[in-house]
């Protein structure tokens, strides 16, 4: 994508930093209210409907690495998340003895181009965990405050699912769910024996149209590559671009925001950013600044926005910016289903994600850890790509020869070739994604010794899991074994034990990092008020996952979207009332 260098003297009503889930939603709602909006995005333009950006429907051989991951695309060469865990010229550091991995995307739409599109509402309990188990903090708002916005997000963006009437898994406005795949039906059987629920998934792909602008899903299983029909939700295609088409939004790409600028009274006056094209610094003015750069990056911008009135960074008079950083817990297990060896072939792609899942089903009062997890399932006859045929040195023994004897591991030749064909589509697995307890001592701060290639000081992370998360992971492992075994699968690999914290993923790895600019009624223990407005800078707002007080056992994005919409409505009203 190229750039036109254009003079633009105007200042804007609103500057939005970042075009991901939160920034995209804000751009739509604020511009439709008649405000002039500038969206500043560090990455380049991206549009999967243009053939030069398309990776959808490309077979493995169109990639010289056959779809293997790279530094820029760790989830695969066709994956549309440009960035990764380790971005050239944009380092971050970790305090000794702690760990955190940070996944970033640098492109219009941010991480919503390839996200898993599991679109779950938080439930009533999820906003009030402290009242239930005494740990962490309650949100200053409750489910009822967000419900109208979840409803609107459902209708605007589209999500399939079924009404289940489960109290803490609120129903929404659902499109019809796709029927389960074969391995999912085996899991449903197994889970039933284990007395666990398995219900249709809730994902944001359009199984039916919701308007005449976006296409309908044609079941290619590749949403992570971004959909050329716009049938899956991504912020670029469904929010930013439509808002731009209506005229009031100007998109600045390759614009890396360094700080929020403020005046003497401490109010925001706009932002300062580095253009990646000429590596020069620019300033842009606005009446309101909205940060949606993702939880950690928005915290970084605030911490780097130091002035006389905000000596510790804008929004940080409480010292809470960066604190309470937390990610979902995660652990996985895999098995092989003998019944699925030598299976019949048919197109089993479906949507780009699970057709069924297990919401949290137990009562923590009877358990030795505080919060729950949901389970995501995977498997099936997916597109062969880098990695297919691997591990026959350990896996071939699961194939029986014509006399019913296990084949020896390893080997070569026609027999090996046949065995790889036989084993295809017979492995399956599951991933638990759970709620952790936010900690004051888990945080990010500015590392004063390191800058990125734009000269902007970088983040340093401090993060350690507590006993709560470790015990939860142990429970996950027991559950995984039970479901796999009851489904008729043979467990693969060793069961992770205490030496690996039961396979508990490194903090950050689940990519649900939240809480760095948390909301609250008390300005000394929170960064934002319940409208996501900075306590100490009334025209500064945050619309990503920074405001989350706690990250439920649900993926965060549907809540980012609902909150961003609510915050945008509040901004419009406050501007109307001339309060900001």
């Amino acid at each position: 994508m190229s750039f036109e260098i254009k003079s633009s003297g105007e200042s804007y009503d609103v500057i939005i930093v970042g075009s991901g889930a939160g920034g995209g939603m804000a751009s739509k709602i604020l511009s439709e209210a008649g405000l002039s909006v500038a969206v500043l995005e560090a990455g380049k333009d991206f549009d999967p409907a243009k053939d030069e950006d398309r990776t959808q429907l490309r077979p493995a051989w169109e990639s010289p690495r056959r779809g293997a991951g790279t530094r820029v695309r760790p989830f695969g060469d066709f994956d549309q998340a440009i960035g990764g865990w380790d971005i050239e010229g944009e380092p971050y550091t970790r305090a000794k003895g702690t760990s955190f991995d940070w996944f970033r995307s640098r492109m219009v739409g941010g991480r919503t181009n390839h996200w898993g599109r599991i679109s779950l509402r938080f439930g009533p309990n999820d906003f009030k965990r402290k009242s239930i188990d005494g740990m962490g903090d309650n949100w200053p708002i409750g489910y009822d405050d967000l419900k109208p916005y979840y409803d609107r997000v459902d209708k605007l963006i589209g999500v399939f699912g079924t009404k289940e009437g489960i109290y803490n898994e609120p129903d929404g406005f659902f499109l019809p769910p796709p029927k389960p795949r074969l391995h999912e039906m085996y899991i449903m059987k197994g889970a039933k024996k284990a007395n666990m629920p398995v219900i249709p998934g809730r994902l944001s792909m359009l199984t039916r149209p919701i308007n005449n602008e976006r296409g309908v899903c044609f079941f290619c299983n590749q949403c992570n590559r971004a959909c050329q029909a716009y049938a899956d939700f991504s912020s670029g295609t469904c929010l930013v671009k439509p808002a731009m088409a209506k005229g009031k939004v100007e998109l600045y790409t390759q614009a890396m925001v360094r700080s929020v600028t403020t005046d003497e009274s401490g109010n925001a006056t706009g932002v300062s950013f580095i253009s990646k094209v000429d590596m020069k610094e620019y300033k842009l003015r606005s009446r309101v600044v909205v940060l949606g750069a993702s939880a950690c990056e928005s915290a970084r911008i605030m911490l780097n926005s130091k002035s006389k009135t905000h000596p510790n960074g804008v929004g940080n008079s409480s010292g809470m910016v960066g604190r309470y950083l937390h990610d979902s817990t995660g652990a996985d297990r895999m098995g092989i289903m003998p019944e699925l060896i030598d299976r019949e072939r048919y197109n089993e792609d479906g949507v780009g994600g699970m057709h069924v899942y297990t919401p949290w089903w137990l009562d923590n009062k009877k358990l030795d850890f505080a919060r729950g997890y949901h389970i995501e399932y995977w498997g099936g006859m997916t597109m062969p790509s880098y990695g297919i045929g691997f591990s026959m040195d350990t896996m071939r023994k699961y194939l029986k020869d014509e006399f019913g004897n296990p084949s020896p591991n390893g080997g070569y030749g026609e027999g090996l070739k046949k065995d790889i064909r036989r084993i295809y589509g017979s492995t399956l697995g599951m991933s638990g994604r759970g709620e952790s307890i936010p900690q004051f001592t888990n945080y990010c701060e500015i590392d004063n010794n390191v800058v990125d290639k734009y000269g902007i000081p970088v983040l340093k992370f401090h993060y350690q899991w507590t006993d709560q998360e470790v015990k939860q992971a142990k429970h996950m492992q027991d559950t995984f074994e039970e479901i796999l075994t009851e489904s008729g699968a043979v467990l693969l690999g060793e069961k992770p034990g205490p030496e690996t914290m039961y396979g508990l993923a490194t903090p950050g790895r689940i990519i649900h990092e939240v809480g760095t600019t948390r909301m609250g009624d008390n300005p000394s223990t929170s960064v934002l008020n319940s409208n996501c407005q900075a306590h100490d800078c009334k025209n500064l707002f945050v619309v990503d996952a920074g405001p989350f007080v706690s990250q439920a056992d649900k993926n965060p994005t549907w809540t980012i979207l609902a909150l961003a919409w609510r915050t945008s409505d509040y901004i419009v009203n406050e501007l109307k009332k001339k309060n900001i």
């Binding site: 077979p59 390759q254 048919y346 880098y386």
Partner: protein, 235 residues
């Protein structure tokens, strides 16, 4: 105040002459980004990726002799049969060449393993691997292809062969020929309506009664969804 003056006020450096605004027209693609060597991954690449693919494609890791050896080895691992062609025909050696540069941790085990084949052959038969008879070659391969039967002193060579087996199998099954041989049916637009009935019957599974009326019906895929206030789909 005209636009220009206004602009100046906005800049810190005041040297800058304009702001950058994305223009979404596809015509003005930057010409120098187009790949010079065919074969890099297409689709939304950033400059760093295009340059890297170009560089990897222009470099050569394997020597002629190593390639010759690999041509023999990959066809031992994935030979032609009645149904399909062999690994070398499927372009697996080119794929291995690329992977050596894309994932450099492969380089030492691969080069070392290929050399080991020669020194072992020399020790046992007084000839280089490629000069062995077919029987002799297979005697060597059988020493390293079966991890659980291999002698302990063969462990290094066994891991080399494991890597080679992985790369050969993956290279083969991710080729067009491999997709056909595998019988892969996906990657094409369709209206998913569940697992074929006869397959469900064979596996003894059925769709839960409870959800039958809620699942997507292919014939309704064209109709814009409408809900009542309770979230029930009514159109």
């Amino acid at each position: 105040m005209n636009r220009r003056e206004n602009l100046k006020l906005l800049f810190t450096g005041s040297l800058a002459t304009g702001l950058l605004l994305t223009n979404c027209s596809p015509e003005d693609k930057q010409a120098d980004l187009s790949p010079k060597i065919a074969g890099g991954t297409p689709g939304g690449r950033i400059e760093e990726e295009i340059q890297r693919d170009q560089r990897l494609l222009s470099e050569t890791f394997l020597t002629e002799e190593e390639r010759e050896k690999l041509n023999v080895l990959v066809d031992i691992i994935m030979p032609a049969d009645e149904e399909s062609g062999s690994a070398s025909e499927a372009g697996v050696v080119d794929f291995i060449e690329f992977m050596m540069k894309d994932a450099p941790s492969y380089q030492t085990p691969m080069r070392g393993g290929l050399m080991w084949l020669d020194s072992y052959s020399n020790d046992q038969y007084g000839k280089l691997f490629l000069d062995l008879s077919e029987n002799e070659r297979m005697e060597v391969i059988d020493k390293i292809a079966w991890p659980e039967k291999a002698a302990p002193e063969m462990r290094g060579a066994v891991s080399f062969f494991n890597i080679l087996r992985n790369l050969t199998a993956t290279g083969y099954f991710t080729s067009e020929m491999g997709y056909k041989y595998l019988g892969y049916k996906g990657n094409t637009p369709n209206a998913w309506d569940g697992v074929p009935k006869e397959v469900m019957e064979k596996h003894g599974v059925e769709l839960p009664e409870k959800y039958l009326s809620y699942y997507l019906k292919p014939e309704e895929r064209g109709t814009v969804a409408v809900w009542d206030d309770e979230g029930n789909l009514i159109g």
